[in-house]
Symmetry: D2
Subunit: 396 residues, 4 copies
């Protein structure tokens, strides 16, 4: 096989391309996770993640992929047979619901069309009807990675409160955290779930729970049979920077570096950048005459843009063409939208020129694959980026 | 704080120091775990681990620490209330037993004195008494990391067979695999548990199950409520080199490099090297006039040597001295032997001169800490190493 | 200072961005350069560079920047007062000429307008006039990094031969080698000069001479007083893979990796890629209504494109704008064309999407800096790239 | 070939093993050496090297090996035919003398027996005799890498002053700098020569001149024909952190990291560490019943220890044995002492346990190679190290 020259464009909606600084941090020699020097690594990671989740409450870090942190959220707080209200925003919301079922819970799934975020009104209505307060938790996906739609988490909290309902609010922000605004404490989230390989710019392998005092108390009192995922076991050693079992030391090195990088840029700048790139990507899609999957204005994601293929054209064949000819990986459509949608990731350590490269890969791929479209998507994105200029990249 | 010059000696019994080749492999850019190129990475890892476990049966790789693979072994094969026979070889056998309890199983614990491996005769006797075949599994720790004793796994299998008992044989070889001989198929193991940060020379963050057909069938039919650890979910995508959720891509890069390195040295050479270093370490301990914790001849570990402190002397104070003055991390005594024992790791990517450096760190530390001992441990180890020469390091 | 997100675009005409594989190779532990294992490293580098220069004759590798290899070429073959014929293709040809003067040679400089390569006819005419054969060498720059023009080296050799002149042919291919076609033996070059940080995709720090037998004999018999640069000293140890003084070990690791990568892609594919990218870059410049500095058709470089700024506009102010707003480094105009020209590097480890990103950085920069131009350069480049498709990136 | 397990011990007297932090720094992406961000890298390196040479005067950094900086020292200050006084401390002093001859100088070589440093009295006597002040420079090697002897540089300066002689004082401290005390300003050195791959803990590829005002004025006014090595060309761009030609960017990254590490440890601590390790190595040699090459008390090097083999035994055969069986590289004897001497490097990023490992490699090698000796060298070194304890490695 002939070598492909130049840099691969990893434009799936996560894992995002890992910055060199993080890769170098990860390649630091492993240390004694029980020794005195480790405490600094551990505390820095735990404290740092609080700043990312914007919480003063507890953080738990697992050596696992994000899927594991979904499970941790459920098994620490819920008991077999518990009813929970989940919202079908897309494929990942569905997977989390299926996991809940497998774990013996009774999820109730508010159906959605995969083209927008969770609707707080429907949640409120359902909670108001639950006069016996049988529903133990409301679970929503913050940034639905399969569709590129964002749920209004703060509004969901307001809906729960408006209904006067005691359910916990659990939020999957695996692909939202550190790319789009997320405020654990201010929004009143009880359990948040995240992973390392998206906005945190790490390889996969670490997952996170942010946990409110209320949720933690649930965990102490109940939850399901569990061991690996148990919060209480974690909380003790965590207080001094240690873990109850061997942590993912080298990924923690990378995590600390990534957190530092996020703060060097400024979290609000990070969010503004993602929002701007999302807008530019959608401008390109419109110029191509294609349709963005998310059709709820204001809920389009800054993390990724899912694009509907014209009828009769295979999204997967198109993606194979772009990979083969332009060395760019795009995300596939999942389950309900399999082969109907391709997803463009514009998250993580990313900038204007990388976005244009990405969109040009899509545009050249559309041509080469013979997909009906108008040219000019790249030009439209450039117009938007040129007009809504970033603050000077280098600021005082 | 003043910088410590030179290389830290990470001589705990895992994580072992990660070779530069592996660290560089881990620092390779993350790739699309659903893309066509990933299949090669995944298949190489899965096939490679078969060669390390010496099995033709199934391997499962988790993004988790070894503790997770313990849980996976239990939740895939056992059901709530199931009785299992476990053997108290030390701290880790005890932890696994406690985990089983927490998961709702009914472990029966054969008591041990922490100074040797599992005794097959006692296992056989117990199984013979279990005429109703209520015991569903026998669980032993291959290399007990807390004590430096090795259980005779093949003999445990023979004991089970001699008793005509259908129990599964589950083996924790977290710290044994790839350092001392382990033969999954030949020894008739049903589930083996391992982790990345010991003989596999990786950072922590990957764990493994090797699974016999019999155990896999148990998993398909039953087991506990589970999601993250489910074998059946894994088996499908694994067949083509993929995983049901995001795998630990960068650690998999490192795993493939580490497996290649093990085969470049030759697994049998790797085992011989560890055995030789174990013998040299014990020669040093005897010369110091100290006592090796393991007192079962033939069951002393090549992975680590646990040393009893003279009465009235704190092992932890001694370890703090060696760390502070000689920049070497030794393992601590755990639970029953806390502060009574220190553990010298001599596993992973290691050689004669590194062992002598390690033992000299202990000897100099004993002097500095004022621990009663005779000098000459290093000299004794050198005598053994000089006499029982390694085959030339560089061979055709 | 706020962190700039994403990858910096290093689009100067060298150093080119170093591929991760090469960076990892360079970070391998330094070895004993007199030990038995080093021979393989040294021989691989020396043999590998023959394949890159396309020669069966001798290669010398210096720990130095390319400037050093210029000096080596002159001091090994020429004596004080020797007359040499040099050709003013641009800034670097001028610097080489000045170096020759400082070293005591008598360079004769054929004036050029910096807008094309060397003209073989003028060289031939001058050599025919040199009936006494006082000119000892003809020196041309293959790819003039300051202008983006390529000299027809094979035609220069033909001109020398047509004139029946015995002068040596010396060629600076610092920025041409491994990006555009170069054939040391076939073209009858006597001394070629190159460096590591351009098409070879390494950091700066290694330089090269390829040397014909005829030139090497010159060196044995004469040349100037010298020590570091002496070929004869090198030739002996080189025969077995060693060097007379400590070589640049870690850059040699990287060199061997880079040579492997070039051959994995195929040198002819590498050349075709650069040519294609040069054509696309020029299409963009034309679409912007700007002027390419090189105006000799067929001599435009595939390595870089130098662009004339509209009158009254500062190229350096424009470059500062692109760097500040779009995190892309462009090359500056040098001496005669200082502040009049900016240079776009498209060499080394580079691909279509990176080129589009680069050109979009220029186009957005032109807008932001208020430089008069037409939009559409990126679109024009995409048209060319989309039409003249690369062979599938992944071929059998 | 079977893989050698564990870490290779690179115990030649340079290159020394490069610390991981430095290797990671070197693997940082190359940057635009003309761009605004480079200035910080360049200035940090130039200023940092002043702190290492302990000078307020000028530093020049070359992309070259140390041999190049020898040449730079001579060609910038001396003119053809100039008489210089050099001192035969060993192989490298001899090589420098030969280089001076080749460059057209007239070196006068004070003969030495290779078993000590330069004798200031002999230098003073010779200078007093030079009543016409024809001698333009006195050149000594600070730490003679071929013998392990240190010349008393401050005393050489005093000798020159006592003789009232205007000659420049030039010092090769290639292997001394950053390992043993060197004070450019205080000792009145005019030109110092150094390289990256010894006490500076870098790979080879950078070399250094520290230059007094007096020497720099020599350079401006005279010196030989030169280009690459010219100080004046360097001085201008250096003032703002830049270089006249492409610098060795990635090694400069490493240099800045290494300088930081040296200051984190404290230069005086670095020197004390090397002195202590030299003493321990000599204790081992004496215990073996072998002879240290340097027999001038107080001039033994902390960088390396050269050891005389017993008559009739080949040092090179012994070194081949240690490499093959114990994976340790020792330095060979050079020219006059070829095959009579082996050299043990104990410089750079090194600590007590690494020294013991090194000495154990020698002792085990002596046994295996059948070299007559007494055992107990390692034990003797341990006694010394244990008694003369390092300050606690970790200090406030």
């Amino acid at each position: 096989m002939s070598r492909k020259a130049g840099r691969h464009f990893l434009q799936i909606p996560g894992p995002s391309a890992v910055p060199d600084r993080v890769l170098r941090a990860i390649s630091t020699q492993t240390m004694d996770h029980r020794g005195p020097d480790f405490a600094e690594v551990g505390l820095r990671a735990l404290e740092g993640m609080k700043s990312i989740f914007r919480t003063e409450q507890q953080i738990f870090i697992y050596p696992s992929s994000g899927t594991g942190a979904w499970e941790a959220a459920l098994v620490n707080t819920m008991s077999e047979g518990d009813r929970i209200l989940m919202y079908e925003t897309g494929h990942f919301a569905t997977l989390w619901m299926k996991m809940a079922k497998r774990l013996g819970l009774a999820p109730e799934f508010i159906e959605g069309d995969w083209r927008g975020g969770a609707d707080p009104d429907r949640i409120e209505a359902r909670l108001r009807a639950d006069t016996g307060h049988e529903i133990r938790a409301v679970c929503v996906v913050h940034n639905e990675t399969s569709t590129g739609s964002v749920s209004p988490v703060a509004d969901v909290r307001r809906a729960i409160d408006a209904a006067g309902h005691p359910a916990l609010l659990m939020v999957d922000t695996i692909s939202g955290l550190a790319s789009i605004d997320f405020r654990f404490d201010e929004w009143g989230v009880d359990v948040a779930v995240s992973g390392s390989q998206k906005g945190l710019m790490l390889p996969p392998g670490l997952s996170f729970n942010a946990v409110s005092e209320k949720a933690f108390e649930h965990g102490k009192a109940g939850g399901m049979r569990r061991s690996y995922w148990d919060w209480t076991d974690m909380a003790g050693p965590n207080a001094t920077g240690y873990f109850p079992y061997t942590p993912g030391t080298n990924l923690l090195y990378g995590l600390n570096e990534a957190i530092a990088m996020l703060h060097e840029e400024g979290l609000d700048n990070v969010f503004a950048r993602h929002a701007r790139h999302g807008a530019a990507a959608r401008a390109a899609v419109r110029a191509w005459g294609l349709e963005v999957l998310c059709r709820q204005q204001g809920q389009e994601s800054g993390v990724l843009t899912a694009v509907l293929m014209p009828e009769g054209h295979s999204a997967d064949a198109f993606r194979a063409t772009t990979l083969r000819h332009y060395d760019i990986s795009l995300g596939n459509g999942l389950s309900k939208v399999a082969d109907r949608v391709f997803r463009v990731g514009h998250l993580g350590d990313f900038n204007d020129l990388m976005l244009i490269a990405t969109l040009s890969g899509v545009e050249l791929g559309l041509r080469r694959a013979g997909v009906p479209h108008r040219d000019g998507g790249v030009a439209a994105a450039m117009d938007l980026l040129g007009a809504a200029a970033p603050e000077e990249l280098e600021t005082a």
